[in-house]
Structure formats: structure tokens, C-alpha cells
């Protein structure tokens, strides 16, 4: 709680935090939706915002507000899966490569280099279009996770490489620590800011990726998400017909989400910076 209080004093964090809380609240609201998001024509079509439909309705006869709740929930869930999954891979690969060195290092770094030079976007689009019908939210999250770890694994590896040379590694070895406990107790605290910052970056990349895939029509369009919402609105020429509430809602929400995630990431990494932490600890 003290950490949150410290962080909230930072304007950047406070803004990002409240936007995110609001969006999570929306996602939570989706559980109480009066409408089924998969059904059409449950409300009058194309009505502008009013008291009964606060964000208006779509040409598909759906309520924009409630559709947004589902979209936010799905997009967040999918990107969290991608973020967590790629973090796990990045940490494991980075730690093992950095600490073990030698052959393991060379092999793992070859792997990560390969992922870095491959045209990821094309491959994802390709896989997406091949597996389109079977691609669920979870599998899309995992797919994006598989492609999102390479660079971060490299950064973690280089951190571990430099930490390995610090004296406390030797102190820990002399204290009889085993490899696993050494890595997690000694190195993890230094890596958390990095993992956190890259996690948020990755989440925001995954959300962006989903939107791109949906607009390119390679994701199952019946699943409500920020991307598909936008795709439907574009499909029905919402812009041309002046249904600004329909196309505006996902656009504004996505932009707000990206800004919030960006601010959170810079504020948290500033806060977790080991040098700053040492200073704070010293002061306490």
C-alpha cells in the first residue's frame, strides 16, 4: 500500500492508474451486461447516445457501451496472457543464458537472434490467416507471447551477465546457496523493474497487434475486442455515415489505454530503478 501511495504522488502514474482502473471496471461490468454480445439486433439500430444507450447503438443493433465492456475485457485478458507468457520465456532464457554461459548461452542467443531477424509481423499474419477459424483469445495470446520475448531475453541476459560478476554472487556462493536460489534471490530484485517495464510494453504491443490483425481481417470477427469493434465500425462505413459514437468509442478507448500503459511503464521503471530504490531504503 505504501508503494502505491508513493507512486500515486507521481502525476504520470496517477493518470495512468486511474484510466486503467476505469477500464478494468468496465471489463468487470461486462459480467452484468443485459445483452449477449454475440447476438444482433437486440436494440434499435444506429441511435446516437441517449439515456437508454449512453454510447448509442450500432448498425448491428448492439449497444456500444456494453459491447465496449466486453471488448475491453477480452483485449485485456488476451494481452495479459501474451505478456505473462512471453515474460516467462524471456526470464528463463535470459537467466539460463546469462548465468550458465558457454554452449547454452550460444544456443539460446542464436534462438533469440532468429526471432529478432524474422519478419514477425508477416509470420503472425500468416499463422493468423491459416488458423483464423480456430484462433481463440487464449491461443492468440499465446501466439503473440511466443513472438514477444526475444529482445527482452537479451536484455535480461546482459543484466545477469553483469550481476554475475558482482561480489555478492560470490558471497552467496560462499553462503552455500544453490544455483536456483542464487538466481532468484540475488538477481530477481534487479530484474523486476525491467520485467515490469517490458511487461507493460509487451501488453500494449499485444493490444496493438490484435487491433491490427482484426482490421486486416485475420482474427475471428465475432469475438468482441477493441480490434473487432473497430473492424465492424469500419465495415459498416460508420465514419461515412456519421456514426461517430460507434467508431469513436474503440478509437478513444484504445488511445487512452496506450497512453495509460505508457505512463505507467515509465513511472514504474523510474520507481523501481535499483539506484532509486537504494536511495529510498537508505532514507527509511
Amino acid at each position: 500500500m505504501k508503494v502505491l501511495k508513493d507512486l500515486l504522488r507521481d502525476g504520470k502514474f496517477a493518470f495512468g492508474f486511474f484510466v486503467l482502473i476505469f477500464l478494468i471496471f468496465l471489463a468487470f461490468l461486462s459480467f452484468f451486461s443485459p445483452y449477449d454480445p454475440y447476438r444482433w439486433n437486440v436494440v434499435p439500430r444506429d441511435t446516437p447516445p441517449s439515456w437508454s444507450h449512453i454510447l448509442g447503438t450500432t448498425s448491428r443493433g448492439q449497444d456500444v457501451f456494453w459491447e465496449l465492456c466486453f471488448a475491453v475485457r477480452n483485449s485485456l485478458a488476451m494481452s495479459l496472457i501474451a505478456g505473462v507468457f512471453s515474460r516467462i520465456i524471456a526470464i528463463l532464457v535470459g537467466m539460463v543464458a546469462g548465468y550458465r554461459g558457454g554452449m547454452a548461452d550460444r544456443f539460446l542467443m542464436f534462438l533469440s537472434d532468429s526471432f529478432l531477424v524474422l519478419p514477425l509481423f508477416l509470420i503472425i499474419v500468416l499463422i493468423g490467416s491459416m488458423a483464423k477459424a480456430r484462433l481463440s483469445l487464449v491461443s492468440l495470446g499465446l501466439l503473440l507471447g511466443v513472438f514477444g520475448w526475444a529482445w527482452d531475453a537479451r536484455v535480461i541476459r546482459s543484466q545477469v551477465l553483469s550481476l554475475r560478476e558482482r561480489d555478492f554472487t560470490y558471497t552467496s556462493l560462499l553462503s552455500g546457496a544453490r544455483t536456483m536460489s542464487l538466481i532468484f534471490k540475488e538477481y530477481m530484485p534487479f530484474l523486476t523493474p525491467l520485467v515490469f517495464a517490458t511487461f507493460i510494453g509487451n501488453v500494449s504491443w499485444a493490444i496493438g497487434m490484435e487491433i491490427t490483425l482484426a482490421i486486416l481481417n485475420v482474427f475471428r470477427i465475432e469475438i468482441p475486442s477493441l480490434g473487432t469493434m473497430l473492424q465492424w465500425a469500419l465495415n459498416y462505413q460508420a465514419l461515412l455515415l456519421g456514426y461517430w459514437w460507434w467508431i469513436g468509442t474503440p478509437v478513444v478507448t484504445s488511445v487512452m489505454l496506450f497512453i495509460a500503459l505508457y505512463l505507467l511503464s515509465i513511472s514504474i521503471s523510474e520507481y523501481l530503478d535499483p539506484r532509486m530504490r537504494v536511495q529510498r531504503i537508505g532514507k527509511a
Binding site: 561480489d167 558471497t171 553462503s175 540475488e186 537508505g282
Partner: protein, 319 residues
């Protein structure tokens, strides 16, 4: 004097560079010495002389290229393979930089409990606390000012004391101290140096004291070895080596120490090597390029060790 640790013909070669242009640097070249119990044995030398590499090999952080380290007449390699904890209980270490000895993001006491639990010295918290309090007292700290604190809450001197206390937890018979005072504030330095003297006198712990500072080496050590570019060039009782240096390098080193006495001023001038790299690759005696007394054979042949007045000198002048 009983033999505790014996280093036999230890050599460590690092190869650097890519597959296409490999250069080999001999960091430690065929060195041998013994440490008795209890005594303070100093490995002195300038940076890059191989003293820290030697320590890392003894501690098992690096693998030697050839040669052996014997602990109580048994190869330490075998011991480590059989029972790693046993070696850790016997040989501990103190490092140069007290600010990086402990992880700045962890409390210092966590290392103490870990040492006791991992090495099966204490079985419960209470026993551990008793042991810790005892060792803290030995280094002049109290348990109260120690628990639940981060390294940044201590001064460099305190951290170095804590580092020594942690090493003492296992009741080791040998402590390897790699430049333990070079980063400690001047006004506290001698209190740490005195602590090592205490360890030997009160607790019968042998110490391998690694340093570039000849004055503290003179102050605490019983015997010492002077290293130069991976070789031990002179070894013997500290008093004899420093009061009556024999190898031209030891002489230069001894003479170059700026003494805290305005009356003593240098009368001669020194010649410095332009690049350190060449000296490693020198055949024969590594010091030949800077030696005022160099002879023709010094360039070609590696001098063996000659015994002079109880010290062993690696120089043809004493043939």
C-alpha cells in the same frame, strides 16, 4: 608449523578474442606456495599480477589450467566434488568492495541465516541468532544494530566487518581476503587490518591477505609472496622481503611506496612500461624490459627460484 593449504605449480591461461585470432594470456604461471596454520600469508602485487585469479581458483570460482590446490593434503577439487559444504565450512572469503559484497536490495542478515542453514551449522533460528551474536561481537558490532537492515544503511567499515563476521560463521580455518581494506575509509582502515591480526591470534584462523599495499602487508603478515605478471618473484618472511628486498622488481615496488613522512623523498626516477600487454608476452624474465640489472640470459631463460637468506627469489642475480 602444520601445512594447511598447498598450491602446487598452479597455472591459469585465458584465451581471448574470436575463433580467428586467439591470444593467450597467462594470468598465473606455475606458482607454488604453502600456507601454514595459523599464519597470515600475503600475496602482494600490482593489478594484473594474478593474485586475484589465484584466490578465485582456490575458492573454486575459476578452474585452473594445470597444477593443484591441496587442502590438508587432499586435492581441493576432489573435496569439492565430494562435499562442497565441507570446503565452504573450512575456507571462506572477504572481498574488496564492501558495498558490493552484499546485494543492495537484500537485508544483510539474510546472508547470515542462509550461511548457517545452508551449511547445516545451525538447525533453528534461535541457535543461529546465538552464533551470529557471537561472531558479531568478535568483529565489534552488536546484534541490535545489525538485524533487518540493508547494506546502504551501513558505512563501508561496518560492511567490511559484517563481511568478516559472515565469513567467521562457519568457524573456518582459512580466510581469503582480497584487498579487504583498499575501499575502506582511511580513518577506519587500520581497525579492519587489526581485525585480521586478531583472527589469527585469538581464533587460530589462517589468512591469505591479498593486497597491493605493502605497508599493511608489512604490518600484519608473517610470510609473503610478491607476484609480478603471473609469477611469484620473491617469497619469504615479510620482514625480510620488505626490509631487505632482493628481486629488482620487489626493490622497485618497495621503493615506490609513498611513505607518510615528508622527510623521505625519492631521489631516483622511475621508468614506466608504455603498454602492459607486452610484458605478459615477454619470454624469459617478465621484468627484463624495466630491470636495471638485466643480463643477456634474462631475455631468453626463465629464471628458477634461488634460496637466499630464507627467501626464495626468481632471479638470475642470485645464481
Amino acid at each position: 608449523m602444520k601445512k594447511l593449504l598447498e598450491v602446487q605449480n598452479l597455472t591459469k591461461i585465458y584465451s581471448m578474442g574470436s575463433i580467428f585470432s586467439r591470444t593467450k594470456i597467462t594470468a598465473v604461471e606455475d606458482i607454488s606456495f604453502t600456507v601454514g596454520e595459523p599464519e597470515i600469508f600475503t600475496l602482494a602485487g600490482e593489478s594484473g599480477c594474478g593474485k586475484t585469479t589465484t584466490a578465485k581458483i582456490i575458492l573454486g570460482f575459476e578452474e585452473q589450467t594445470s597444477g593443484a590446490v591441496m587442502y590438508k593434503d587432499e586435492p581441493i577439487k576432489n573435496l569439492r566434488r565430494g562435499d562442497r559444504n565441507k570446503v565452504l565450512r573450512e575456507i571462506q572469503a572477504v572481498f574488496q568492495n564492501p558495498f558490493s559484497t552484499f546485494n543492495p536490495l537484500r537485508t544483510v542478515d539474510s546472508y547470515f541465516y542462509e550461511t548457517l542453514i545452508n551449511l547445516k551449522i545451525a538447525s533453528n533460528r534461535k541457535e543461529a541468532e546465538k552464533k551470529i551474536a557471537e561472531k558479531l561481537q568478535a568483529v565489534g558490532l552488536s546484534f541490535e544494530e545489525f538485524s533487518q537492515r540493508y547494506p546502504s544503511e551501513f558505512s563501508g567499515g561496518q560492511l567490511q566487518r559484517l563481511s568478516i563476521a559472515r565469513a567467521l560463521l562457519t568457524d573456518p580455518s582459512l580466510i581469503i581476503a582480497d584487498e579487504p581494506v583498499s575501499m575502506v575509509d582511511a580513518s577506519l582502515r587500520m581497525s579492519i587490518v587489526n581485525l585480521f591480526k586478531d583472527l589469527k591470534e585469538r581464533y587460530d584462523v589462517s589468512v591469505i591477505y591479498i593486497t597491493h599495499d605493502l605497508t599493511t602487508a608489512y604490518y600484519i603478515s608473517d610470510r609473503m609472496a610478491v607476484m609480478f605478471r603471473g609469477n611469484i618473484v620473491e617469497m619469504g618472511p615479510a620482514e625480510e622481503v620488505l626490509s631487505n628486498p632482493k628481486h629488482p622488481y620487489t626493490r622497485l615496488l618497495r621503493e615506490s611506496v609513498p611513505e607518510p613522512d615528508p622527510e623521505k623523498q625519492w631521489t631516483t626516477r622511475v621508468h614506466l612500461a608504455e603498454s602492459e600487454h607486452e610484458e605478459y608476452l615477454q619470454t624469459g624474465c617478465k621484468f627484463v624490459a624495466r630491470c636495471p640489472l638485466a643480463m643477456e640470459k634474462c631475455r631468453k631463460l626463465t629464471p628458477p627460484h634461488f634460496e637466499v637468506n630464507g627467501t626464495s627469489v626468481k632471479c638470475f642475480l642470485y645464481e
